[in-house]
Amino acid sequence: MTPLLSVRDLRVGFGQNPAANEVVKGVSFDLAAGETLAIVGESGSGKSVTALSVNRLVDFGGGRITNGSIILQRSDSSTLDVAKADEKVLRTIRGRDVGMIFQEPMTSLNPVHTVGAQIEEAFRLNRGLHGAEAERAALEVLERVRIPDAKSRLAYYPHQLSGGMRQRVMIAMALASSPRLLIADEPTTALDVTVQAQIMALLAELRAETGMSMIFITHDIGLVAGIADRIMVMQHGLAVEQNTTDAVLDNPQHDYTKHLLNAVPHFTSGKAVRADNERTATSEPIIKVDDLVVRFPVKKGLFKPKGAIHAVDGVSFDLMPGETLAIVGESGSGKSTTARAILGLVEKHRGAIAAKAGRSRRPIQMVFQDPFASLNPRLNVEALMAEPAIANGQKLDDTLRDRMRFLLDRVGLPADVLNRYPHQFSGGQRQRLCIARVLMLNPDVVVLDEAVSALDVSVQARVLDLLVDLQREFSLAYLFISHDMAVVERIAHRIAVMYAGQIVEIGEARAVLSDPQHSYTKRLISAVPAVERRRQHFAVDATQVPSLVRPAGYEPPPANWREAGQDHRVRIEETK
């Protein structure tokens, strides 16, 4: 049987001299009809460029195919070398033979047209459907991607839909032409874990229904386990290993594959939690949060009553010295708002935040998610490191510079970086710099707001190790905010699960991860992708997070808790 797609010695370069500036350096692979190939690699490995070469979208990004062939079998069984085809022929391939979905669904949808109009457009272009016919087809395909209440959603604009919904719309548009090959470029990276699980399940089901082939690009080797037939691992523009999924995952041959598999956080349902901290009844909490409420007002109009977004609703917890409390939840669950309220970056509506006097005037410090956004690009390392000290009345002198060098060395940065600027560092180095910076003030508590989420897996693992070491050395307490259960398992002593602005389950890490009680915690844990879970089947679950916009004066009913064990409390769910 001839393969649907056969790529031989593909080389792609960028810039004035593509041959000298190669990003993909001779990649070959075959893809049979109905098969799914996952291309795995870290940022800059050339995985996206390889996939974008298949429909020659790479041309628009300034790339040139310098060598090799891409033989695509078309629907009329003729074959075509995409690498040499001209733009006119390519237009008939894109959309029709090869569909594509991108990472960020908001930017790939046109914000001024309704999703219905955009899907109909896809049908008009690819199948020549018009008017009521196109509308019917659009409705049908939206139902196929499991969008609840599809008929009314056709009239929605992209910004009115959630990220997961938008990605479904993108998939619907790609399906409009019944492509024989679907290229998915990190389609779930921008989404929450449970939504990611939904999209992955959807893709798997659609593939079974339509029999299309798929190229799935991802940086997360744990994610591909459930969907791919074959895996190709890329590093520095070369395919270092390709084989069947089982062979690659169980018996990796290349060092880089082994390294990736080691670096990816393995979720083990609480078996790997840290055991270096025991709560004693006598110790006093360093932070005590009691019934914290944060609301953001929403204006509805001149005469309509004002409502409010209940971002955080009645959150209580305490944090002991030297302990890591992880707050886990998805976007919009209020976990970041809680952190910001503790640091006074957002105003609280009600509640008490009591912090014990610490070693310095500002005992609580924070590391932000995006190391590119949290460092002022116009200041050098010395100025960045000096800022917290200057803000607290110290002078920039040799003592202070010595402390900077000590901390930079401690987080694994060379000491001679003091007059470099942030753009001269990689993402991982920048995050180390941010960590060193907050330690300048010798804090007691460090709030880590998704501090490792933006990093590549192998970098992420090293930063996590560093955090654990620093915690012991400087006896820090961490408030670790994350959406990633596998990361949380490595660092947390205790875990609080947040959902829709409230803590639904809190307790010792092992108890929460191994024996989740609340339905949301269970859902969150079952959505964690893992190499070990490759044969597990996910059902498409389209549960939506409830709206947090409440009318003025609304107060949620008081929470009822039950004990699920020593140091493990669960909010009692309302039965519907």
């Binding site: 970056l345 500002r362 609580i364 410090q365 924070m366 995006d370 956004a373 200041l379 917290p388 803000a391």
Partner: protein, 280 residues
């Protein structure tokens, strides 16, 4: 800084713009120290309305004064007014824009509405109004032009400042307890240098034109001090007999504006973060 200079010399319009501005600055400096070919105020009574020649490079006017010397002093006058007024406008506009963005809500509303009112008037009309109240003169021109261009700088600063205010590094500074002046100067202003630099060069071109316009109307620099607009005004009745009296001041104004505009364009290209990323 040397990187910026090199990028400037590589940029074609940057090179031309820089050359023109340098030429003007040299002319202005020579005008200040009095190194003109002839005394710009001296009346060569026998040489009235002489066309350009080896003695009088750009000819002489009705009273027999040397046009070239008068142009040099005129450039000096224009440059002083342009730089002073734009300097003041930058200072006030930046402060107003920054504070409006930082304090937000009520102050933002009040300050920016005042700026909007000023912005609603055509530049020359507003300048006329101010001069009509205070009376003409060099310092009045500076003040009038500064007031006219302050709202533009306030707008240019406020927009980016609003978005910078939301950035993580500002939040981080607040968690360290950094003072407001520190955050405003190090985190906001430092990141506004690029858009401001572009705006300053472009505003210099407009200020040059506005000054010439005011002088042309007799409300700017007062005779006998030469100025570009004034010379243009004096030439208008002699257009056919002595076209050089009109052509040279007009060309001088045009070339000056071109110089600043080309420099501004080049700066905008060079400081654009997108082109920077391509280099990095």
């Amino acid at each position: 800084m040397s990187k910026l200079a090199r990028a400037f010399l590589r940029h074609p319009s940057g090179r031309i713009g820089l050359a023109i501005i340098s030429l003007y600055l040299i002319a202005a400096l020579l005008g200040i120290v009095g190194l003109t070919p002839h005394d710009p105020l001296k009346l060569f009574a026998i040489d009235r309305l002489k066309p350009p020649s080896a003695t009088y490079w750009f000819g002489t006017d009705l009273l027999g004064r040397d046009t070239f010397s008068r142009l040099m002093v005129g450039i000096k006058q224009s440059m002083i007014i342009a730089f002073c007024s734009v300097g003041l406008a930058t200072l006030f506009g930046t402060v107003i824009g920054l504070l409006a963005a930082w304090w937000g809500t009520l102050w933002d509303g009040i300050l920016m509405r005042i700026m909007d009112v000023l912005l609603a008037f055509p530049a020359i009309l507003l300048a006329l109004l101010i001069i009509a109240i205070v009376g003409p003169g060099t310092s009045t021109s500076v003040a009038a032009i500064a007031i006219v261009y302050t709202p533009i700088f306030a707008r240019v600063v406020r927009g980016p400042a609003l978005s910078l205010k939301q950035r993580d590094f500002v939040d981080a500074a607040r968690t360290f307890g950094s003072s407001q002046p520190y955050i405003l100067s190090h985190h906001l202003l430092l990141n506004l240098v690029a858009p401001l630099a572009v705006q300053v060069t472009l505003a210099l071109a407009w200020a040059l034109l506005t000054e010439a316009g005011l002088s042309f109307l007799g409300l700017g620099t007062q005779p006998p001090t030469p100025s570009l607009g004034l010379m243009l005004a004096e030439s208008k009745n002699l257009m056919t007999q002595a076209p050089w009296l009109m052509i040279f001041p007009a060309l001088t104004i045009m070339l000056g504006i071109l110089g600043f505009n080309l420099t501004g364009d080049a700066l905008r290209d060079i400081l654009d973060p997108r082109t920077q990323r391509r280099e990095a």
